[in-house]
């Protein structure tokens, strides 16, 4: 059947020099982002948060007495019971483990700062709509992405409710009730092309700059960790190792409490640590905290009963984190089926609506990723010369198979993808160099093998692409092809001080 469908296939080779940096990747990928379920990574996450909190107190302009009280409360055995427990576990291991955890915390902080600054509204102050959108972005109700001259805002009703809850506009909020579960399945986006209109390069947020909007609804989503299929597994995790390490931390806490079961050595360490943090200059908070939770804590002589509590906590927290990691991995591999409506307003061709059914699966026990789309598009207004309102119909699929870390170079990936499109009428773009997408059938397929180059951030994809249509591709014969993909984020991350 396929051979008959493509009698004129002129297998076409494409040389790909695609500098499509893998933006999802960054320095943190190498550390804790992909596998946060370990003691060092949990320590680094909490450490970075505490540094920010103490710095915020010191920068608050509050009276020295109030700052003193707040810092002691922030670094207390009540507020930081989990961080202190994790630090005590790391203190029982070789010093290198602690140093590594601190390095992780530093890189986490750099990444966080970068994303926060990109959310600034300084570019969004020209008109009322941008201001409102900017306010929504700053408060976490919307997400903003910029690609070239296009700014896209994404959000969902739950995100907006969450942002209101964070700001105290809602007294009581649980994101796991029936209504919220339903609303979580809905999301929307709007894109604006800032090159359009009387002031190119300036975001006005008006109808002329609106280049598209979409609505997305998850028909079936097993990648939601709250899905009923995972409830029993969460219950087992929390009531088992979760409860066990909570008991360990409750025991540990008593050694810091002068009224229950105090240990003079850990109490002295806590008081000295609080004194050091109160006295620290803003720029030294991280260094002081690193010292008190590292070398200073390591030097404390712990009685046997405290050591036993730490050992028990270490065993239980490791069990908890391993099982949690496995559960979240299972969640990440769950299938999704979604429907998406997009209204495209490209500017140089007639506006059209797209109805897309999307499926994502992880077959072979999560060892591969399969994505499939089936979509149908109609013109918003039938263009001159078109036989009807139907624009095109598309079917596409992509299978990614990670082949593992061969020779410790990094993950090799094999990808097979294909797309079939039927265009109902000729579509001609306007502008200085008009092009025409002729009506008829289009078939495109590609096989790709991506090879990482160890430690360089460079990935080399070997690919073969074939199509039955050649108006956008000049080559007409099959050739072997080599393309190079540079993962620029990874390279830049290595240049960071």
């Amino acid at each position: 059947m396929k051979r008959k469908s493509f009698p004129l296939i002129a297998l076409t080779a494409i040389l790909l020099f695609s500098f499509t940096g893998a933006f999802a990747q960054n320095a943190k990928d190498d550390l804790c982002k992909k596998q946060p379920n370990s003691v060092p990574c949990q320590f680094s996450a909490k450490f970075g948060g505490l540094v920010s909190e103490i710095v915020a107190v010191k920068n608050s302009g509050d009276t020295p007495a109030n700052q003193d009280t707040q810092i002691r409360q922030k670094f207390s055995a009540t507020n930081q019971l989990d961080l202190i427990g994790l630090a005590m576990v790391l203190a029982t291991e070789p010093r290198a483990a602690y140093v590594k955890a601190i390095e992780n915390a530093r890189i986490d902080k750099q990444v966080g700062t970068g994303s926060a600054s990109s959310g600034s509204t300084s570019l969004l102050a020209k008109a009322s709509v941008p201001s409102i959108l900017g306010l929504a972005v700053e408060n976490g109700a919307l997400q903003k992405e910029t690609s070239g001259t296009t700014i896209t805002f994404r959000g969902n009703p739950v995100g907006i409710i969450k942002a209101l809850g964070d700001k105290g506009f809602i007294e009581s909020y649980d994101d796991d009730d029936q209504t919220t579960r339903f609303l979580r399945r809905l999301s929307f986006s709007a894109s604006f092309d800032t090159d359009r209109g009387p002031q190119p390069g300036t975001f006005l947020g008006n109808k002329q700059q609106l280049s598209g909007y979409s609505l997305h609804f998850d028909l079936y989503n097993k990648r939601d960790p709250r899905h009923q299929n995972y409830r029993a597994k969460w219950a087992t995790l929390i009531s088992g190792p979760g409860m066990a390490f909570t008991q360990d931390l409750s025991k540990l806490k008593s050694y810091f409490n002068p009224h229950t079961n105090p240990d003079p050595n850990v109490l002295a360490w806590l008081t000295a640590s609080q004194d050091a943090l109160v006295a620290a200059k803003v720029g030294d908070v991280e260094k002081v905290l690193e010292d008190v939770l590292g070398d200073k804590l390591r030097a404390v002589q712990l009685p046997q009963q405290v050591k036993a509590a730490v050992e028990s906590f270490e065993a239980n927290i490791n069990s908890y984190l391993t099982n949690r990691g496995n559960l979240l991995k299972e969640v990440a591999n769950g299938p999704i089926v979604a429907f998406e409506y997009t209204n495209n307003r490209p500017g140089n061709q007639p506006n059209y609506s797209n109805f897309n059914l999307i499926g994502e699966f992880s077959p072979f026990n999560g060892k591969a990723d399969l994505t499939a789309n089936a979509s149908f598009s109609t013109f918003s207004t039938k263009p001159k010369g078109a036989t009807g309102s139907a624009r095109d119909f598309q079917l596409s699929g992509q299978l990614d198979v990670p082949l593992g870390d061969i020779a410790k170079m990094g993950p090799f990936v094999f990808t097979a993808s294909g797309k079939y499109q039927h265009v109902f009428s000729d579509i001609t773009t306007t502008g200085t160099t008009p092009t025409t997408l002729k009506k008829g059938n289009i078939g495109i397929g590609q096989f790709k093998f991506t090879i990482p180059v160890k430690g360089s951030g460079v990935k080399i994809p070997l690919s073969v692409t074939f199509s039955n249509r050649t108006e956008f591709i000049k080559e007409s014969k099959v050739r072997g092809n080599v393309g190079i993909t540079f993962d620029l984020d990874t390279i830049f991350s290595k240049l960071k001080p």
């Binding site: 949990q42 970075g48 507020n79 969450k162 969460w234 409750s250 229950t260 908890y320």
Partner: protein, 112 residues
């Protein structure tokens, strides 16, 4: 119940006062919460939607663990009250990137 130095986690209570802990805001949290009083399995693992109620007979340490179901975007508020009236303690926190759980401790000290 009274907060010492306005600290929501350091609480002065009457002997045999009954404490109620309620999660009033929950974002990206698992359905269950762990509570351990003085290292025991009591009050235990409880649904977050239900108040956790227990008496305090002596100076005590409570550990409470809330579990995040994702690696970012979580936050919560916990309200604590005592049967003898007095202060209402509210502890609020936001998930750090990659943080799997949050355990906070409460100190309950019989009236000073």
């Amino acid at each position: 119940m009274k907060k010492r130095n306005n600290d929501p986690l350091d609480l002065i209570v009457e002997e045999d006062e009954v404490i109620t802990i309620l999660i009033v805001k929950s974002i990206e949290l698992a359905e269950l919460v762990n509570f351990s009083l003085n290292g025991s399995a009591f009050p235990g693992t409880r649904p977050k939607s239900e108040p956790c109620v227990f008496p305090i007979h002596k100076n005590s340490d409570l550990a409470m663990t809330l579990h995040y179901v994702a690696n970012s975007g979580g936050s919560f508020s916990v309200q604590t009250t005592g049967s003898q009236g007095g202060d209402v303690s509210v502890f609020t926190d936001t998930q750090n990137e990659g943080e799997a759980f949050r355990t906070v401790g409460y100190s309950f000290t019989i009236g000073e």
